[in-house]
């Protein structure tokens, strides 16, 4: 059974069909790209898959479980985590706390145990710290654990957002333009990191990206969206040669 199955997903804002008839099947462990010109509806697809928007038509399943109409928090608990195009960190909290918030549902103790400081508070907090440090190490953020998230440089903020999403132990990770604002070296590094987490954390990754070197570098298959509809779909190298796709990006 495939991990993610999206069937005829669509949403209408007033008279605008932002996304229409979107279909996608992701196998476990796949690294899939979603590309398209600005305003094509890529981020809207992410918002639909994470419950920020409720789809007007169609539905989607994760591991056979229907998630249409569920709230963002429930969808995350079911196994989909995401990052945002305009970075959304908890800016007044430390880097460590940002990741520990990702562990919120994975490692629990009650509010009462937290206030009275029962043993479970200390043991769980210690485990959370260890796990968070391990994750931050993967993203080379282990020197910045005590820094406020808002004081991090841009590239590191992007990485922290991925680390925080990873902390929720998702089955599917949605990355919205992870390389935006990065220089070629940073992008190359990021590609390695994405591949590393996919291989080592049992993940499936769906990413939106404008940087074609990243897309062709790591995505096995891609879908191209244009004006909310699917323009092309298939193995990356083939799709990028498709004249329709080139036309959509560059014009006639």
């Amino acid at each position: 059974m495939s991990l993610l199955e999206v069937k005829n997903l669509g949403i209408v804002f007033g008279g605008l069909h932002a996304v229409e008839d979107f279909n996608l099947t992701l196998e476990k462990g796949e690294l899939y790209g979603l590309i398209g010109p600005n305003g094509a509806g890529k981020t809207t697809v992410f918002n639909l898959l994470t419950g920020v928007y409720k789809p007007t038509t169609g539905t989607f399943f994760l591991d056979g479980k229907e998630l249409k109409g569920k709230k963002p928090a429930e969808i995350n608990k079911a196994g989909i985590a995401r990052t945002f195009q305009n970075i959304r960190l908890f800016s007044n909290l430390s880097v460590l706390d940002n990741v520990k918030l990702g562990l919120h549902n994975g490692m629990k103790y009650s509010t009462f145990e937290g206030i009275v400081r029962l043993p479970r508070y200390f043991s769980t907090e210690r485990k959370m710290n260890e796990r968070a440090h391990a994750l931050l190490k993967v993203f080379e953020l282990d020197d910045d654990v005590d820094t406020l998230a808002s004081n991090l440089p841009y590239g590191k903020q992007r990485k922290l957002e991925i680390a925080r999403a990873m902390a929720t132990e998702p089955k599917l990770l949605l990355l919205d333009e992870p390389a935006a604002g990065m220089n070629p070296n940073e992008t190359k590094e990021l590609m390695q990191t994405i591949r590393f987490v996919r291989d080592n954390f049992d993940l499936t990754v769906l990413l939106i990206e404008h940087d074609m070197s990243l897309v062709s570098g790591i995505c096995e298959n891609i879908t191209v969206l244009n004006f909310g509809t699917e323009l092309a779909k298939g193995p990356t190298a083939e799709v990028l040669k498709n004249p329709e796709v080139i036309k959509a990006y560059l014009g006639d």
Partner: protein, 367 residues
């Protein structure tokens, strides 16, 4: 000689250990304050007028710290916090008056009154919180303000009496329908009289310490982090599986319960408990908000210090007569400038940095 300048702004520690240390400093300030004023009172060095300020300072601090949980930590502006204090005060006082004849030590009665006040205020928090927390920003502020006023108005038209057949509740004395020998406990705008005067500075101090422990421990736990994440970015909090409604309500209800305790302390400091604008209405809610904002949003220690100073000031200014409130306003403005003005903030950070590096150098020399 180019010396590497480490700006104090760059190094900001927020690790687990420094959080605990920061909290201990706050506890220490409160303990020292208590010890000093308790000694002064015991040795007779404190004027009576000043002695009577000590309990009010305690409940102001408790109110400020609990409101900080809503405004500073959760990030929602609530203007009806005094309403919860009102609920706690009336419930606690009511309980103490009806159990006056029951054989019970004063101490036990007061603790029970405190628990009941907290529980009913928490319940009020749930009832008000569920609709109110669906709103955002200004709308939430307006609605909480309205609820605060509603609570105050309701207790002002409520009459509760007790006779042989039990309790009678009505909106006027006529409709109370009580036997001649019945006892009128809650008498509308005249409020509740005959509450035992069980509050004292020590009890107030204990309540402040408990409040501080609860709020600081909460902030430094899984729940507190979740509440702060909602303040910083609600959409991101949802995206990592945090139940926003649950944690918003939790912060609101815990703050309401603590405000209820402050109310019980307030009620047992007076013989007659009435509700008016200055103690449970708009004015009080705004005063507490002023303590919180001037103390620094999200800073527990700031709330403690600001509430203490700003409560005591108008009383200390009584000597200057009619210029009292003018002076008070000037102090507020100066505090704002000193707290947030770029020049003063820089000076403060520099001073702190010098102290710290001075300590380190001394340690090096000693070694």
């Amino acid at each position: 000689m180019a010396k590497k300048v480490n700006s104090p702004l760059e190094k900001k520690k927020s690790g687990v250990r420094s959080v605990t240390k920061k909290n201990f400093v706050t506890y220490l300030i409160v303990i020292v304050f208590y010890a000093v004023f308790q000694t002064l009172t015991a040795t007779g060095h404190l004027k009576n007028a000043y002695q009577s300020l000590l309990v009010p300072i305690c409940y102001s601090v408790v109110m400020a710290v609990s409101l900080n949980l809503v405004v500073g930590v959760l990030g929602e502006l609530s203007l009806g916090h005094a309403g919860f204090m009102c609920v706690g005060a009336y419930c606690g006082a009511f309980f103490s008056v009806i159990t006056k004849d029951v054989l019970m030590t004063d101490w036990l009665r007061f603790v029970l009154a405190m628990l009941i006040g907290a529980a009913v205020a928490a319940l009020a928090g749930v009832i008000i919180g569920i609709p109110v927390l669906r709103l955002k920003g200004d709308y939430l502020a307006i609605v909480t303000l309205a609820f605060g006023e509603i609570i105050k108005t309701v207790v002002n038209v409520l009459y509760i009496g007790k006779d042989a057949s039990g309790f009678h509740i009505a909106m006027s004395t006529k409709n109370l329908d009580m036997a001649e020998d019945g006892l009128l406990i809650l008498n509308g705008p005249q409020g509740i009289t005959g509450t035992p005067k069980s509050s004292n500075f020590t009890i107030g101090f204990i309540l402040v310490m408990l409040t501080l422990l609860i709020v600081t421990n909460l902030m430094d736990s899984r729940t507190g982090r979740a509440i702060m994440s909602i303040r910083d970015n609600r959409i991101a909090a949802e995206s990592i599986g945090i139940d926003v409604t649950k944690y918003k309500l939790m912060a609101f209800v815990i703050a309401a319960a603590i405000a209820g305790c402050a109310g019980v302390l307030y009620a047992h400091n007076l013989n007659a408990l009435t509700a008016n604008t200055n103690n449970f209405g708009y004015n009080m809610s705004i005063m507490i908000l002023v303590y919180v904002v001037l103390g620094g949003l999200g800073s527990v220690r700031g709330s403690v210090i600001a509430a203490t100073i700003l409560y005591a000031l108008p009383e200390l200014f009584r000597g200057v007569g009619q210029y009292r409130m003018l002076l008070y306003a000037i102090v507020l403005i100066v505090m704002m400038i000193v707290n947030n003005g770029a020049f003063f903030v820089q000076m403060k950070e520099k001073a702190l940095y010098n102290i710290r590096s001075g300590k380190k150098n001394n340690a090096k020399e000693a070694a």
